[in-house]
Amino acid sequence: MRIKSLFVGLAAALIATASFAGRGSDGNVSIIYWQAPSILNPYLSGGTKDIESSSMIIEPLARYNETGALVPFLAEEIPTVANGGVSADLKSITWKLKSGLKWSDGSAVTSADVKFTGEYCMDPDGGCAQLEKFDGVTDIATPDDRTIVVSFSASKPNPYGPFVGGQTPILQKKQFANCMGAKAPNCTAENFGPIGTGPFVVTEFKPNDVIQMKANNNYRDPSKPAFATVTFKGGGDATAAGRSVLETGEFDYAWNLQLAPEVIANMEKAGKGVAIAGFGPLVERLEMNMTDPSPSLDADTRSTRKAPHPFLSDINVRKALSMAIDRPLLVEIGYGKAGDVTCDLVPAPDLYAAKNTHCLKQDIAGANALLEKAGWKKGSDGIRAKDGVRLSILYQTSTNAVRQDFQALIKEWWQQIGVETELRNLNASVFFGGDPGSPDTYQKFYADVEMYANTFDGTDPQAYLSAYRCGNEPKPESQWQGANINRYCDPAYDALLDKLSATGDLKKRGEIGIQLNNMLTKDSYTIVPLVHRGRVSAHAKSLGGVVLNTWDSELWNVADWYRIK
């Protein structure tokens, strides 16, 4: 009996190794995203859910791996100045495709497809969501079937914008040739079932609901993917997604579980799966309004640089507000292992991380002393005031359980330093929307302080830091569009930005990046970072090969996933 079971075990082990090597031998894998994909063409939708779901089907030339380093996908190698792939003046980059690449319909992948993808996105009528990646591109040349030369108008210290990362995968020219410009949205069949080079092909796409996929027979590695089919379900909420992987075991992988740490820990106790965390550059921060949001001002002056803020323009107030915050506690309550304390706007990658520590310890007494010294005296109601200006703050954010807990805590701490706070939470689709007619958008900033999280794509923060340039602030003349949310303006900062965009040497870029970061955070407290947020996802214990990647699509290595038997 024992011998027999040994044999059975041995046979099972043999089958397991065999299946490990065979395409489509592990059956079905099911993935759940609580935001449902609505389209499989990332150029027509900037949404993370759409970029990540389509990353299983269409691929870029290169991706970032879990450490933020570039790895070639369709390209043979990563072009650099050292290997001659990037020109010395940083004005062009030359990519070479792997040989023998095939689309899932069996035709060959050529440089013409790559060139077409660039033209598709840069078409002025297309409304391409990834246009910024092609910023400064003047020409895409194809000297031969496998070579692509991308030229830029000015020297580009970071030339890895186009065709790198999940945002800009390669489309098939044959399939999308009739979908250029204004016709792009009408190509429903194409947008719902792009022909790609990735490990899977779409068999059925129900928008905002479910995608069914099967293994791509023409995938470049003949032994991959291990799974024959994929069910990609979307919709619902993070709790239900986490439950379906960790507690009921109905799904194998759940994306981005934004849940209280103890909720996740309790779900893990069921033993069906594990939660994994990874960190990108996402930072939850308080933004200080440098301009006056008072409702008594007229629409052309309110929250614009014409009217400086009555008390937040005093750096001592901003600094005291930051000192009063207990960041480790915020992390513990809101994020657990999916968060870390930070004092930086750019907490990662290592090269650009300032790693400041000045804000990590709460100092209520110090904050009180600082305000006292700066002339803000407590009134009879316990609220500080100077020259008739009371420290009374309207603090807004989007609706989200963790953010409301943070609001309650921070209000309490500010109370202790004599600052009165009115809280407001807004519907995310209004808050993050750009309707110039709405008073509640984060750009309009009709509040003194607001809280949200932001990040950048890839590993280079230049564009991210450039947001805080003078004149880039939302204002009535620009229909309240603009990324300089705080209305920060410092000529020295702008000069340093210009220096950054002219510097190619990575080490020097890192130094300048850190300087810029410090100007916004440590030196001026314009931005008060709170938590360096990671991402928590969960996978079933029987799912192998998962490597959580926060620099690119989470499903970047889905070809390597397999079933543990």
Partner: protein
């Protein structure tokens, strides 16, 4: 009666056009933005270009007119093409969703089956449970049966589905492992086994939804029956020697149905739009789910189209209810 119906049908047309106009203006006034779900990493200039590509820059009356033409002229052609294999609609611009860039009606058709199966079924179940319970509760007022029925239905009504849904999932999916917590919309019924699975995955959403319906209809049924049980005609019928069964089922039931028919008629259209929380909890992804998703993403063409279909159902069912009043109580006249 016939002239009444014809008149009402004629009035329905301007009513529906006015409703669609009001909804359109409302949606355009609302401070939403279709770019709200695009990540903050996409710069504002690019978002502005994306908005223009959606046709957002056009004047409102042109947008509205375009929608009218697409809904009343092009979409019916698509339907005719589909039914008779013709090519009337070829190359014509259909109503395109901003979220998915695909025809709105295609998604509606895709979601119809689970909407009818789950939400429609729960409604039927709810009504079938509520009517007899309400009637019997009234007949035996203040009996144990009545008290228990009142208690259960009020608790059922006052506990919101976002709680009751999660509660049954925790019990039946997590603790007991009997039922799936996520509705599989790709499941097709081909044999006994798949049918059993379909029933299994429908049990929880149907029950949670039915609880709400049952509670509401049960309350109205009970109170209307109570009113009627004390009427003179019941006494007369008893004096005539009719059996209790006949009195209750023929006379009392019929006369108590007016408020109940009203509630049912008002709620039937909500099958297509009202079950959103339950659909969300169980991921049934029906039309209600499509509507709420479109509202969040400010996908105006989808919201406008589904809302209009919703309005159409409301107007039709309210007309139907008015006709049924006349059948239930011949004294009601509209002319």
């Amino acid at each position: 009666m016939i002239t009444f119906i014809i008149r009402r049908l004629l009035i329905a047309i301007p009513t529906l056009v006015i409703i669609s106009l009001v909804v359109f203006l409302l949606l355009n006034l609302a401070p939403n933005d279709p770019m709200a779900q695009v990540p903050l990493t996409v710069p504002p200039e690019v978002k502005q270009k994306m908005r223009e590509a959606l046709g957002l820059g056009q004047p409102i009356h042109i947008q509205f007119f375009k929608w009218l033409v697409q809904f009343f002229w092009i979409e019916p052609q698509v339907l005719i093409d589909y039914l008779f294999n013709t090519t009337f609609s070829e190359g014509k611009q259909r109503i395109i969703s901003w979220q998915t860039r695909s025809p709105v009606m295609d998604i509606v058709v895709q979601r119809l089956p689970q909407t009818l199966w789950v939400v429609g079924m729960s409604y039927v179940v709810g009504i079938l449970i509520a009517l007899p319970i309400g009637l019997y509760s009234a007949y035996k007022q203040y009996s144990i049966f009545d008290n228990v029925g009142t208690f259960v239905s009020m608790v059922g009504y006052s506990v919101p589905p976002f709680f009751s849904g999660v509660f049954v999932i925790v019990i039946f999916s997590v603790q007991l492992g009997w039922l799936p917590s996520i509705y599989d919309t790709t499941h097709t019924v081909v044999d006994w086994e798949t049918f059993k699975f379909q029933i299994k995955q429908m049990v929880m959403p149907v029950m949670v939804l039915a609880l709400q319906t049952t509670a509401q209809i049960n309350r109205f049924m009970r109170s209307a029956s109570l009113d009627n049980l004390n009427q003179d005609y019941v006494r007369t019928a008893r004096a005539k020697g009719l059996t209790e069964w006949t009195i209750i089922t023929v006379h009392v039931l019929r006369n108590s149905m007016i408020p109940v028919v009203t509630v049912i008629a008002i709620n039937v259209p909500y099958i297509f739009g009202g079950a959103l929380i339950t659909e969300q909890v169980f991921k049934v992804n029906g039309i209600g789910h499509q509507l709420i998703g479109a509202i969040y993403a400010n996908d105006l063409p989808t919201v406008q189209t589904i809302t209009f279909m919703f309005a159409f159902l409301i107007v039709s069912f309210n007309l139907l209810a008015d006709i049924i009043y006349g059948l239930l109580d011949p004294r009601i006249r509209y002319d």
